[in-house]
């Protein structure tokens, strides 16, 4: 069925005024074309999308989420729950706030098939059955149909549409370190900025609107004059940086604040991260909608919305108005309407008058029923019934706002040294009084910032200014703003919408509370009230009020939900910023690419997997000589007298007796005894060492070393410098490697007697001085690992290739190295071990030295070495499938015979070019770890094949003779 709605998008009462308003911000000489739902319109420069639409006579801009009721602008600003529109490929644009630009393609979101004719409006006819949370009570049977129900429900998801081809776009981030950060550029915020700057503080003043001034912008001539003066004063002070169309979105630990800047000239949104010494919260107040029957009909607006439309944008919001007012702002809205010739019927709450409901079709109200029983014809109903204090930033700073029934709103209750409030969130007053309070707040914020800054400087260990007297931390001597009495007006005698974006009414809330969802958090979760895009800024206090009424309690008893960051939504693009994730390559990478090497991603690194035939690379390395680029190997330069102490702490084995020129292998375990990393460290000089880590562990181990040095043993004198990319690392491996290296190095005696296995030397290679070379390697062959200052890496590599041509030199890649290490039975941390592999699992018990006074993981490893643990901890073993042609996939499970009981798994598996058969490493339960044990391997294709546990981890050259020649 289709519901045709009378009136539709155009209503005569809404139009652009012919005459200019004195404070309007539009430039009537301009014409800005845009489309709305495919139709062409024009607006003016300075318009928001909302004012442009209303200026074109459009009153209905969207439909509600659940009942698809027509909706018009309610608050006409950033928070407008009905104003979320699709603009081009951008969903959920706040049309009450977003400036109109030429060519914008604007469309309504929750409409199907169109704004004018919406089939889903049929839901409204059955709304009495669709109370909040109705879906919890139905669609349960038959269970098989639920997936279909779910798909239908999902079509009611509110919001716009994401174009998945949207380019990432330009985003940016900035760091700021203001003395005083001010959230809100109304009169109090501006006054605070001026006073703080005059006291010598650097100030960052952030205003959500497009212009400083707050509510004064759409106020009286005197208001606008006051705003202008303050703006000029702000502009005159170089110590104040102003960000408009920007919002302080979060306050985290130690006044770490996030700001989203939407007004940046080149990026669509910028995230600013500010470490503010003091934060002044001055966001003003958010006008609260009133709950009554028909309160979501187009034509119902808050007083602030009406005043903005008239005074800033020259838009007449209706022809005949009822203004329900409880305060001066409502009175001013009525005055403004009368000033543009709209007849107004005033209903004064302070005089005991009230409204009951808005009548008329869904497309817009035509009348208002008053509490005296009369009905007044109107196409515009303005409410001014009070405010919500946006206390989010205070909440994030640890405050728990408390309700004040006399003032009918919440106020902060906790004194926080570095967070101050001013303006409407702090109290009421004349413009003069607000400015005075702002000035006092600015002075206090600046003084506190100076004191905090001094404390921060003095806290740093190298501070030299500690003799300066610390400025006293100033007490709060401000004269507090008064809290004016305001009637408590939340709901009329009728029920209406509470959460516009979620289509949740007061009736829903009452029903849910009666069902037992009667705490504010449960009520929110059950009904979804306050969970929409405004995150409760308009709805929370009304929700609390309805709940309090249902429970017979006060709003103070009920409290509010916890306001969570961010204060306004931030695009993922702005949060993510530019992607700075580095891609790391060695200085030899261009050569690899030129040779057609197949790249492999290894953490942040891109390196050659192979140069075409890894098996051939293995054979050549085992018979002639091969070179591999091992630059990603983590390298830490360690200097200082306490390096041995650090090594003893980080490794499980002993280091104090390592002589200069010696290299030792070590295992690192975490506190739980689980293998964390492994590698070799060499002693280059008395108090100079080079540590290597696994490629993937380089960052972790560096941080870990710093953790030991900075937090556990600050008395140790050790400098750690990561030099992973400072050196290009080349392993020269194979029986002819000595011959090759000798051709390029004449200042080191390379003979086995002078430079034996597991030793380190420094020398000149291919004319490059200060190279480090050590005799180690993962391949098991005679090897020289060369660490060459990075700028010369490619040069040395090319010389090796050239000078080794007659020796049969070939480069080899990661895959050949993995095969050779597997032939040698060397495990890889994180592949052959896992998150639970304690050191004994590796079979390297002899490297765990419990007689050391301390090392990371010692207590756990002492336990792990007790005899009964040998019955529990799995073991890494070498395995050979009995059929040498079968190469089990890595991750294949090892089972107990024909059962499905898992006894282990294959962790590494390759065809060995050297042995001509398949070889594996695996983890097995201790009972299978004895050499010669027959095991059953379940292949991925389901076959079960036999294998045998080997005596040594090394399938090839178990005695390690080839490396020692």
């Amino acid at each position: 069925m289709e519901l045709r709605l009378p009136g539709r998008t155009s209503t005569t009462g809404v139009r652009r005024l012919d005459t200019e308003r004195p404070g309007e911000v539009i430039d009537r000489s301009t014409s800005v074309p845009f489309t709305f739902n495919g139709k062409r319109f024009t607006g003016h420069e300075g318009d928001t999308i909302a004012s442009a639409l209303m200026g074109n006579g459009i009153r209905i801009v969207s439909r509600s989420m659940k009942y698809h009721r027509p909706r018009g602008y309610l608050t006409g600003d950033f928070w407008d729950p009905n104003g979320a529109l699709q603009v081009g490929d951008e969903p959920n644009v706040r049309s009450g706030h977003r400036k109109l630009t030429a060519g914008m393609s604007v469309s309504s979101q929750n409409v199907w098939p169109s704004l004018d004719h919406d089939v889903k409006a049929a839901n409204g006819l059955v709304s009495r059955f669709l109370t909040a949370g109705f879906y919890y009570k139905t669609f349960m049977k038959p269970a098989s149909l639920w997936p279909y129900y779910e798909k239908v429900l999902a079509t009611f998801a509110p919001g716009g549409t994401v174009d998945l081809d949207t380019p990432h776009g330009e985003f940016d981030k900035r760091y700021a370190h203001p003395d005083v950060l001010i959230a809100g550029g109304g009169p109090a915020g501006m006054a605070a900025a001026i006073a703080a700057a005059d006291a010598g503080a650097s100030v960052l003043l952030v205003e959500q609107e497009h212009q400083l001034g707050g509510h004064l912008r759409f106020g009286s001539d005197a208001d606008r004059a006051a705003a202008g003066t303050l703006r000029d004063e702000v502009g005159r002070r170089p110590g104040i940086e102003v960000l408009t169309d920007s919002t302080v979105t979060g306050r985290y630990e130690d006044n770490w604040c996030s700001i989203v800047q939407r007004s940046h000239p080149t990026v669509s949104e910028r995230l600013i991260k500010a470490r503010a010494k003091t934060l002044v919260v001055a966001p003003g107040l958010i006008e609260r909608p009133y709950v009554f029957a028909g309160n979501d009909k187009p034509g119902v607006m808050t007083s602030g919305a009406v005043r903005r439309m008239i005074n800033l944008y020259g838009v007449q919001p209706g022809d005949r108005a009822v203004v329900f007012t409880a305060n001066a702002d409502g009175d001013a809205a009525a005055d403004d309407l009368e000033a543009i010739g709209v007849p107004v019927h005033r209903v004064d709450a302070r005089a005991g008058e009230g409204i009951v409901e808005a009548t008329g079709p869904a497309s817009g109200l035509t009348g208002v029923v008053l509490t005296d029983g009369t009905t007044v014809d109107a196409d515009l109903l303005v409410t001014a019934i009070g405010w919500t204090a946006p206390t989010s930033l205070l909440n994030m700073a640890g405050d728990r706002p408390v309700y004040d029934a006399n003032a009918a709103r919440f106020f902060g209750s906790v004194q926080i040294d570095n967070v101050l409030t001013t303006g409407g969130i702090a109290g009421d007053g004349t413009v003069e009084e607000l400015i005075q309070h702002g000035e006092a707040t600015g002075r206090l914020a600046a003084a506190r910032a100076a004191s905090i800054a001094h404390a921060l400087r003095s806290a740093t260990v190298w501070a030299t200014e500690t003799t300066t007297d610390a400025p006293a931390f100033p007490a709060d001597d401000r004269t507090a703003l008064e809290r004016h009495a305001h009637p408590e007006l939340y709901r009329a005698s009728t029920h209406g919408i509470v959460d516009y974006s979620e289509d949740v009414g007061s009736k829903d809330l009452v029903a849910a509370a009666k069902e037992g969802y009667d705490s504010i958090e449960l009520l929110k979760r059950y009904t979804t009230a306050t969970m929409g895009p405004a995150q409760g800024k308009l709805e929370t206090v009304n929700t609390a009020a309805v709940l309090a009424e249902a429970r017979g309690e006060t709003i103070a008893d009920v409290g509010t939900t916890v306001w969570r960051p961010p204060f306004v939504p931030i695009t993922l693009g702005a949060l993510g910023g530019r992607i700075f994730e580095p891609t790391r390559v060695s200085s030899i990478q261009p050569w690899h690419e030129a040779r057609g090497a197949t790249p492999i991603l290894a953490g942040q690194w891109i390196r050659p997997e192979h140069y075409g035939d890894p098996a051939a690379e293995v054979r050549n390395t085992r018979t002639n000589v091969g070179i591999i680029d091992v630059t990603p190997l983590g390298k830490l330069d360690l200097r200082g007298p306490d390096v041995p102490a650090l090594l003893e702490q980080m490794y499980t084995n002993k280091w104090r007796k390592l002589p200069v020129g010696g290299v030792r292998y070590g295992l690192m375990c975490a506190e739980d005894g689980v293998v964390l990393d492994d590698g070799v460290t060499g002693r280059l000089a008395d108090d100079h060492y080079l540590m290597t880590t696994t490629s993937s562990g380089a960052g972790t181990i560096w941080e870990w070393a710093e953790m030991w040095l900075q937090t556990e043993h600050p008395e140790w004198q050790v400098h750690v410098t990561p030099v992973t990319t400072g050196y290009t690392s080349i392993n020269v491996a194979g029986p002819r490697s000595r011959e090759l290296v000798a051709r390029l190095c004449d200042d080191v005696d390379l003979s086995n007697e002078a430079f034996g296995y597991m030793q380190v030397r420094r020398g000149t290679i291919a004319g490059v001085p200060d190279c480090i070379m050590w005799r180690i390697g993962f391949t098991g062959e005679l090897s020289f690992e060369l660490h060459v200052p990075s700028g010369h890496g490619l040069h040395v590599w090319e010389r090796l290739m050239a000078d080794g041509a007659d020796l049969g030199i070939q480069p080899f890649g990661l895959e050949a190295q993995r095969i050779m290490r597997l032939e040698k039975g060397h495990f890889i941390v994180g592949q052959d071990t896992d998150g639970l592999s304690k050191a004994p699992t590796t079979g390297l018990e002899n490297l765990i030295k419990l007689d050391k006074p301390d090392f990371a993981g010692k207590p756990e490893l002492a336990w792990a070495l007790e005899p009964e643990q040998a019955q529990i901890l799995p073991r890494i073993v070498a395995i050979q499938p009995d059929d040498p042609t079968i190469v089990p996939e890595e991750a294949c499970q090892i089972l107990a015979g024909e059962t499905n009981e898992i006894l282990g798994r294959i962790t590494s598996s390759r065809m060995s070019p050297t042995l001509g058969r398949s070889i594996c490493l695996g983890q097995v339960v201790p009972s299978l770890a004895l050499p010669g044990t027959k095991i059953t391997i379940l292949l991925v294709d389901g076959r079960r094949v036999a294998g045998t546990v080997q005596e040594h981890h090394a399938h090839y050259d178990p005695e390690g003779e080839r490396a020692r020649v």
Partner: protein
């Protein structure tokens, strides 16, 4: 010991017929027409001074334990205490993902039972928990990650779990918004795909169990904080600790005596256990989460990337729900950090470059009690009558139903059910850990 706690428990027949009205479409229509309100989802009753069983923690675990005590074992003189409101802890803060493709046979068997209970929960509890069996993908961006996926798939296959490693093309087909191109910084090399995994409305699970338990006589007491656990005969001060027995709890609303006290808390599990003199090997760390503004549904499955520390699903309301890995240090702060949102957004955009204009709406954190082997601690303790169902790390919500079922059985029968036997506290003394940490990284 004379008079085992269970002997003190009165078993009553579960009240089935004549209970409160059932939820149904017909009921909605009837009450919509008549305007009659639905009865309270659980009663509001006075706190008594003694119960047969006191359960600390009104989340999924505590409520499920109470529900199954009542339904499966006829034990109904039970109070569930929560210091805030039901579901205010991890149950309401998780990202509502369920799956059973774990790494160890013990884990797989356990979570598979949980998943099957979730599957029939809407009808069992007569409350639609909106289980969405949308499939669960764990992406691999490195060959190492792919190896772990293969490992999990092999273990899962042996346990009869629908779980397999799929190619990037298949990934793209299941979730077209993902960038499976090879020129992305961390290209997607494959994924572990688990069709039975999905999402569920987590709050509804809490309410469903609470309502079901309430119908059978269990009492729910919110805003009732446990300040101490009362013990006698133990080796520690005040009769606490090994060798003793529990006699009740001291709450913010007075003392309650009970022969059996069950610790079903998360975030505070070690502190609560400490009140009985029982030390737990637990580190408490926040896990941060966030949602975006809603947009029309475009992501049909749950997507997890361990390498990028992110998991994401889209609710039927259109919001993307994000979670990360646990913070790297111990902390009780549930406020959420800015850095988390930045890293999260960066990583999500690597996976789905097209959503840079979506906006993050709200962030929060939940507390995760991490154990050394990333498996829970369940069952008896050295204090007689004091049970624990804790150490749930990042996987507690998934395990709620089976945990409640097994804990109820353990309490009612004084026998540890086989399905939770591997998760006993004593394993940290024997060394027989359950290696879910093997696949570490993001557990979701």
């Amino acid at each position: 010991m004379a008079g085992s706690p269970t002997a003190l428990i009165r078993k009553t027949k579960a009240k089935l017929g004549g209970g409160p009205p059932r939820y149904s479409a017909a009921g909605l229509v009837r009450r919509g027409l008549s305007g009659d309100p639905w009865p309270r989802v659980w009663r509001d009753v006075d706190l008594k001074s003694s119960y047969d069983v006191v359960i600390i923690g009104g989340g999924v675990h505590g409520l499920a334990t109470a529900y199954y005590l009542a339904t499966n074992h006829g034990i109904t003189n039970v109070a569930v205490l929560d210091k805030a409101y039901l579901g205010s802890g991890g149950s309401g803060r998780n990202t509502a993902i369920v799956r059973s493709n774990y790494l160890t046979p013990e884990g797989v068997a356990f979570y598979d039972r949980s998943l099957s209970l979730y599957n029939t929960m809407s009808t069992d509890l007569n409350l639609n928990v909106m289980f969405s069996e949308r499939g669960h993908m764990t992406l691999a961006h490195t060959d190492g990650a792919l190896r772990t996926m293969n490992w999990r798939a092999e273990v899962n296959k042996l346990q009869g779990i629908n779980s397999s490693v799929i190619t990037p093309a298949e990934v793209k087909k299941l979730a077209p918004s993902l960038d499976v191109g090879t020129d992305s910084r961390y290209p997607i090399l494959g994924a572990l795909y688990h069709p039975p995994g999905g999402t569920i409305r987590h709050d509804a699970v809490v309410w469903g169990y609470a309502r079901g338990a309430d119908h059978r006589g269990v009492e729910m007491h919110q805003k009732t904080e446990v300040l101490d656990i009362l013990c006698e005969g133990g080796e520690g001060p005040d009769g606490k600790g090994a060798g003793g027995r529990v006699t009740g709890v001291r709450t913010s609303r007075g003392d309650i005596s009970a022969p059996i006290v069950v610790n079903c808390t998360a975030g505070w599990a070690s502190l609560i256990s400490d009140m009985a003199g029982v030390k737990l090997p637990i580190h408490t760390r926040p896990l941060q989460a966030a949602v975006t503004e809603p947009v029309k549904v475009f992501l049909p499955t749950v997507v997890v990337s361990g390498s990028l520390h992110v998991y994401v699903s889209q609710t039927d309301r259109g919001e993307l729900v994000f979670g990360a890995s646990v913070d790297p240090f111990n902390n009780y702060n549930v406020g959420g950090s800015l850095e988390f949102t930045e890293e999260l957004a960066g990583h999500v955009l690597e996976l789905m470059p097209g959503i840079s204009k979506m906006r993050l709406l709200r962030q929060w954190a939940g507390l995760c009690d991490m154990t050394p082997d990333y498996s829970p601690v369940m069952g008896t303790t050295p204090v007689d009558g004091f049970y624990v169902d804790v150490g749930w790390g990042t996987y507690g919500f998934k395990a709620g139903p089976v945990s409640g079922e097994a804990m109820a059985e353990a309490i009612a029968t004084r026998q540890t059910p086989k399905i939770i036997a591997p998760f006993g506290l004593s394993r940290f003394a024997s060394g027989a850990l359950v290696g879910e940490k093997g696949a570490a990284a993001v557990g979701h």
